[in-house]
């Protein structure tokens, strides 16, 4: 088994941090964009890019409520995203055991 077997969507520092942070929430909970940004310390543009890639893969969902300055974007892991992170963790564990 090589590092190529790891899910490339998750196997990038920023996206791994996003997935691991959202996975710490109970199933069905969402985190606001600004709180997520505070927790993983990415620039807004960088964070949006990675969130969009994960959302395109159906690993997370985002919801925007309100409009203008009062708008609020929340992101949450989907079941598929949680399962993908579990698989990633399992594969990583297998790789480390083989080293």
């Amino acid at each position: 088994m090589t590092a190529d077997t790891l899910d490339p969507l998750i196997h990038a520092p920023a996206r791994l941090q996003i997935m691991a942070t959202l996975a710490a929430l109970p199933d069905g909970d969402a985190l606001s964009f600004t709180r997520l940004q505070d927790m993983i310390r990415l620039t807004p543009g960088n964070l949006i890019t990675h969130l969009r890639r994960l959302e395109d893969a159906d690993y997370l969902t985002s919801e925007k409520t309100g409009a203008g300055p009062a708008s609020r974007t929340s992101v949450a892991l989907t079941h598929r995203g949680r399962a993908a992170l579990d698989d990633y963790t399992e594969t990583l564990r297998g790789l480390l055991n083989g080293l």
Partner: protein
């Protein structure tokens, strides 16, 4: 949170740097720990404060009743200390809870609100039954000593045990079972001794819980 950026208008920054598996495991472990620490309002410091609160609150009541013959119940001075430290405890828990849940929305927030309401009603019922016991002619030692201290802790302990079991929070379940045992055991100490026994035993239990929390936060994980 105001004016969060539109996700459809992202800049094209990327972070596609390859990660060594060991590096990835460390990053995953570090991020999970940090997220759990920041999103969970419970902490060793909060438990340490709870231990001090239990000792001070129950200790103050014990000091106010230990010389009473016959037993009349806690004095106003004792109750003022009790309510003051309990209010400090509630204030610190609310502060920690709000800080941890900033930006969090969804099922768990609504579930916690419902749990809080249920606990409030259960505690209120303890005091309604206390009034009923006094009305029925039960002695001051039973009503304002053994019953009120034991019933309050039993309600708190059983509530937290059920909550912890549903969440598979074994640490919390252990703490709540210990609280239930302390409450039941201390009832044998009588109307004066129950306050001292509860205070000292709860303080020890909460100190142990705080130490366990601190140890678990520092201990390396074995899953990655």
């Amino acid at each position: 949170m105001n004016g969060t950026p539109d996700m459809s208008s992202a800049e094209s920054y990327g972070d596609e740097r390859g990660l060594d598996p060991r590096e990835a495991a460390q990053l995953l472990d570090r991020t999970q720990r940090q997220a759990q620490r920041e999103l969970d309002f419970r902490s060793p410091w909060l438990s340490l404060l709870a231990a001090a609160v239990a000792l001070l609150a129950f200790g103050a009541i014990w000091l106010s009743v230990r010389g009473q013959h016959p037993y009349k119940g806690p004095t106003p001075a004792g109750l003022i200390v009790l309510y003051a430290v309990v209010l400090i405890r509630i204030g610190t828990v609310l502060y920690a809870y709000r800080r941890a849940t900033v930006g969090v929305s969804g099922h768990s927030v609504r579930r916690r609100q419902a749990e809080g309401a249920a606990l409030g009603v259960a505690l209120l019922a303890v005091y309604v039954v206390m009034a009923a016991l006094a009305h029925a002619g039960a002695s001051d030692g039973v009503v304002y000593g053994v019953y009120v201290s034991t019933a309050t802790l039993l309600v708190l302990g059983v509530f937290w045990a059920a909550r912890s079991a549903v969440r598979e929070d074994w640490q919390g379940l252990g703490l709540s079972i210990a609280i239930v045992l302390v409450a039941a055991g201390s009832a044998f100490a009588g109307p004066r001794g129950v306050w001292l026994s509860d205070g000292v035993a709860l303080c020890i239990v909460l100190l142990a819980y705080s130490a366990a929390q601190a140890w678990l936060l520092r201990a390396p994980r074995s899953d990655t």
